[in-house]
């Protein structure tokens, strides 16, 4: 069995959304078992990149669950998306170790930096619970990859570091 959907698979939509038969099959593989709802949602998100209302409807119907129950579960867990994933995502780990090492300050810097990019439709900044990379904080997750020890530094140095790990270069408007 393939690995389940995880945060690292965000945005890597393999199949065309709306492949009803693929969804039917994956639910059948779980034995049409209502208790497998979360597993089904994981796999659905892996296929479609997010949980579309139409797909949730299909899940509910096939698992014979009330619509509101399916929606309640899909919206309870932070890793389930109900909207298409952004093109690029930069997530800041806010685990304790990262916090102690300046993750909040880093987040503030990134908020300023990515404000422009978000408008351009490219990047979205997210906060994320502890990734468990506590030995190497602060940690950023950039799309699939992980950037470790992104320590706060004076602007030019930090900018260079952020650029080096794959964030878009600063636009002219934000340059001082």
């Amino acid at each position: 069995m393939a690995s389940i959907g995880t945060p690292t698979q965000r945005g890597c939509s393999g199949a065309v959304a709306g492949d009803r038969e693929a969804i039917t099959r994956l639910i059948q593989l779980q034995g049409d078992d209502p208790a497998a709802l979360i597993e089904v949602l994981h796999q659905l998100q892996q296929i479609e990149g997010y949980l579309a209302a139409r797909s949730l409807h299909q899940v509910a119907r096939q698992l014979r669950l009330p619509l509101s129950r399916v929606y309640g579960v899909a919206s309870f867990y932070h890793l389930f998306r109900r909207t298409p994933p952004p093109v690029h995502c930069c997530a800041v780990c806010l685990g304790t170790a990262c916090f102690v090492n300046g993750a909040l300050e880093l987040l503030a810097v990134l908020e300023l930096r990515l404000a422009q990019q978000a408008r351009a439709g490219g990047w979205v900044l997210e906060r994320m619970g502890c990734l468990g990379a506590c030995g190497s904080g602060p940690v950023l997750r950039l799309d699939q990859g992980l950037a470790i020890r992104v320590r706060l530094a004076p602007a030019p140095k930090l900018d260079a570091q952020l650029e080096a790990i794959g964030l878009p270069p600063l636009g002219r408007a934000t340059a001082r």
Binding site: P7, I38, H42, V73, L94, G95, T96, A97
Partner: protein, 575 residues
Amino acid sequence: MSKPAPARLRCCDASACRNAGGLALRQALLAARAAAGLQPTSLAIGAVGCLRLCGRGPLVAADGPGGSRLWGGLSPEQAALLVAAAWVDADPPLALASPQASPPASPPTPVPPASAPLASSSDPLASYRLDLSHPFFSLQQPVVLEHCGLIDPDCLDQALAHGAYSQLRRCVRQLTPEAVRQEVRRSGLRGRGGAGYPTGLKWDTVALQPPGPRLVVANGDEGDPGAFMDRTVLESDPHRLLEGLAIAAWAVGAERGYVYVRAEYPLAIARLRRALDQISQRGGFGVAFTGTPWPLRLELRVGAGAYVCGEETALLQSIEGGRGTPRPRPPYPAQRGLGGAPTLINNVETLAAIPPILRQGGDWYAAIGAGNQASADKPASGATTATLGSRGTKVFSLSGAVVHTGVVEVPLGMPLRTVVETMGGGVVGGAPVKAVQTGGPSGGCIPAALLDTALDYEAMASLGSMLGSGGMVVLGPHTAMPELARYFMGFCVEESCGKCLPCRAGTVQLAALLDRFVAGQAEAADLDRLEALCAMVKATSLCGLGQSAPNPVLATLRHFRPEYLAACREEPRWA
């Protein structure tokens, strides 16, 4: 943890080292071996589980006739040197300097430039070399982690060669469930997930329920920020957990079970999946591993990002495919759990301690904590701090502002100072330790003055903290306590399931109150309000998350009250 063997390079393949470039390094090592014309028979290069010093990853250990050596902070450029060093025997170890000796001279991070050692030293790997005799390693007593870092977590045969499933076989073939439970009771093992409930008693409760089906669940929803003990076990030795869970199933009469792992641990999930596949490929737990037709079936359930699912009734809801909202207890899951059946829920580390307990005996395990206490470095105070209730070892994840970050397994009862200062090397840059945060969002803060407190359940609780699941975050002088409390409260606001009022609405108000302290805009009345609301949320919340959400506030208030007072304005806002 040294193990005499033919020349072998063990590459840490746990997620911390992977994140630091471990995979590329291993590829480079394989290429270097090929380039050097060596065969796998003369130099084995393999992935293993966690080598402990996560902050210095990627880590590689070499085993040879002369013993074991360890390097950290490596990059693929060092591959050829490592292959050479592993193949020939090498010099005495050097690099992991003891902080007492020369703290600021060579801070372990950032990683030193690759060119420096080549130019200056006769051993070009000298600056990467880590000292295995350093207390960080030498004071560890691996029980749960005994095979962690030695075996390839993806390889069942290696696990079997190290004795995996031998205790399960012995249990099923030779021991009655009662005999197994008795051994667990004798060990004095308590739940390692934080609550510290006696494991044997829990097993008995499930086993002694009226006849009918029972279930077992391994709780791998390790959500405390700053905690990665269970992840270490799952990524390094998944069969160890499965064996412990299977033994638990035998001991309580269950034939079905679940391993619930948080989705944020993709590597652990992949390895558990593979481990379960390996077992089913060989015919399941029954015939293949015990030689009996025992029909035990274990399944993996993956969370989806909800801290509250670490609470056992919420976890059950989640396994059943629902919202992870806790329900009132009693009835406890041991009485009524999955599908109404008695359900045993144990934390991953707890279950991973079971095979060695059965192998060595409960008395052996029980002697670990107590024995350490009797021969402690500080006998005068140690003798009074009885650890009757805290036996065996505990895995801690050490992180934050500490020099050596990583995973340590030490006997319970060890003074906190030993872990933080002797093993962890104190705060980066030689600054004094301000406090140690233990137990995550439900735990507390131990100020530097109390660092001599023993790491046991009762001593920690008496300080208003808790041993917790084992996350240990060291705080340096620049961390402001109201900010820390606000950080944890923000975490609880995010993670509250929203079912009961005090947790749903109370944490929001507490966070807002703490905001005023963080901003230096608080009034004296806010402090009263803060304490009153903390008391209310703590006493009236439905589950452990809400009940412990005020702990970081109360603990920091208890030990660092002046910081809160300093954040109060002198004049009330509406004078």
